[in-house]
Subunit: 406 residues, 2 copies
Amino acid sequence: MDTHALTRQLFVKNDSKIVMFVADGLGGLPQQPGGLTELETAKTPNLDKLVREGVCGSSIPVAPGIAPGSGPGHLGLFGYDPITYLIGRGALEATGIGFKLEEGDVAIRANFCTLDAAGKISDRRAGRIASEESAPLAIKLREVKIPDVQIFVEPVKEHRFVVVLRGTGANKGKLGDFVHDTDPQVTGVPPLDPVAGNPESEATAKILKEFVRQAQELLKAEKKANGCTLRGVASKPSIPSYEDVYGLRAAAIAVYPMYKGLAQLVGMDILGHAKTLDEQMEVLKENWDKYDFFFIHFKYTDSTGEDGNFDAKVKRTEEFDAAVPKIMALKPDVFIATGDHSTPSMLASHSWHPVPTLLWAKNCRTDGVEQFGERDCLRGGLGQFEAKHLMTLALANAGRLGKYGA
Amino acid sequence: MDTHALTRQLFVKNDSKIVMFVADGLGGLPQQPGGLTELETAKTPNLDKLVREGVCGSSIPVAPGIAPGSGPGHLGLFGYDPITYLIGRGALEATGIGFKLEEGDVAIRANFCTLDAAGKISDRRAGRIASEESAPLAIKLREVKIPDVQIFVEPVKEHRFVVVLRGTGANKGKLGDFVHDTDPQVTGVPPLDPVAGNPESEATAKILKEFVRQAQELLKAEKKANGCTLRGVASKPSIPSYEDVYGLRAAAIAVYPMYKGLAQLVGMDILGHAKTLDEQMEVLKENWDKYDFFFIHFKYTDSTGEDGNFDAKVKRTEEFDAAVPKIMALKPDVFIATGDHSTPSMLASHSWHPVPTLLWAKNCRTDGVEQFGERDCLRGGLGQFEAKHLMTLALANAGRLGKYGA
């Protein structure tokens, strides 16, 4: 079901404020069967208070059993079907380093590699070259010049960098993104040529071939990083904006570029340059009057989960909880606390487990849940629901949706 | 998912009886967080007894966060996807006053308006003319004669009336329904001409233009209602019948024309002329042997909710409960109690909140729920489910569905 076919025809505007406070990777697992999860272990008095006045549930990011990456995880929370709206790897990589993709841009994940005298790959990752060494080389590749295309090259980390093509002149708005990877996945053979998968991508493939040629020329004196391979060629995804589908002036307050980038893809404004949760709260307060919807992203429940550090994740969860009163002091009409997926420290990775979710608003049907935790949320009034429905519920609770049909 | 693709191939016939007892707007909200809803406050000993022997759940009328009108609300209960099967405004208006639309009919919501000497609208609602004054004028418009079309004009209320076109001769089955509204939404300009949005609707637009011309001629002596505007042009929706998709001989016992009309659109017979719940029970008893399925509609849980009257809704809920033994005395095989949506008196309007639902049958998997209420139903065996699945569950519990696949 395309929820936006409904929200687009039903949304109304009013003065309400909606805050979506996302603890990345919030959901967890107990350390032994029947034990407490990270969230259940954490002391979360502020969230617990809201849980008693609000309604809880378990959010399924994509589908049962599917562990999402950050892209689909957040698109789901933002109300976009994460199966329909896929962000290509190149576009996600560019987004993740804060590159602001424009309509028609084509982004590519690139790797430095080592070529032998015969032009065959001897190391697919250029000896895992250090970022300090590779960054200047990526910047050097900005010297590549090709007619009718603006080329951006951005260092990422170690052997990785990003290339973005922006068509100009004859190529303006004409660059397709169906070009096969050039990484042969094995050593002892040369990189593959960029090959177009459809006629609309012929120009892109040609540009990339010329890019590789010039790059090798620029890198020929290098010992380790004297070549490159290209992967995940992808256009800026075409995603309708929050303004379009919900009628919301939306803003994001995040620390990490990836989440700013994802918010930007759905048309949110990116606010401030906060480095801490306290600073994020300051930015929220300063901008409170200017927007209808705020997405606030907290990273460390995910990173501690990824580290497999149960206790650290508990602490970070408590830090997340401690920020809640600063949000509630601003008197939002709808407050949501959730995660984009689970990152149980027992798995040290993203997982498929449903995510505890709280929706607080004036007209919630309270459900008897008393504490914010995985098992408590199972008894919540939102039940188990696909994450993509959360925004519709937020709009409804904010009085921002008219009736469907007479 | 098209549930009818399954039911149509799997249904079998037997002697079982299914009763769907609908309390319009049944779901509610507590008066303060953690408090009791209208249904939880009401004493419902008869439903509670069946709850302990049956299975409960929470029905989502359309999708999470979506508050439906009566049309989509009932289509969902009847098992028709309310997104796929949309009833156009004109068709719903005609249905709502009990006009029996036939295949190919085109229905239009019309307003009397006041035109000045220059033919410009000075009042879009003809001074909110009283029904007593407007009804004879609507009936006078039956004098409009146009070749190859039968025209029905029915008074509704105040400035509103309904026009139905039924093609004859060259227009038989040929009248499209994509014609733009003629109400300019502002005063000081003349009504718009009816304009077809596609070639199939050219004839309809032409007929409507002539209708307006003759109508103004017939109304020219009037002070207030000397013109009219047309809106929501819509064909009778094409909805497969209960007989077709479920193999059921179905009947509706309702007091208000809207619900009789909705039932008629899915091929139910409309029984009796009951004005009270007691009379509805009499009609049920009289017709018990003639049908497989009965839809019984109770309006007042919705109207008291719309009035924002918590206590009155509690009382009406108790009235609904009191009728249950009369139904059970007839020994139905499947008994369902539910609503088409929630109408919390706290909101005084239809809402998106899930609807408490009970399904009682011989082979229910009982779920430990003891009382019929919003929070109790959260723990029920049907979970949270889209309303459109309820009919499939009814058929299954009636032994009316074969196995899917070998």
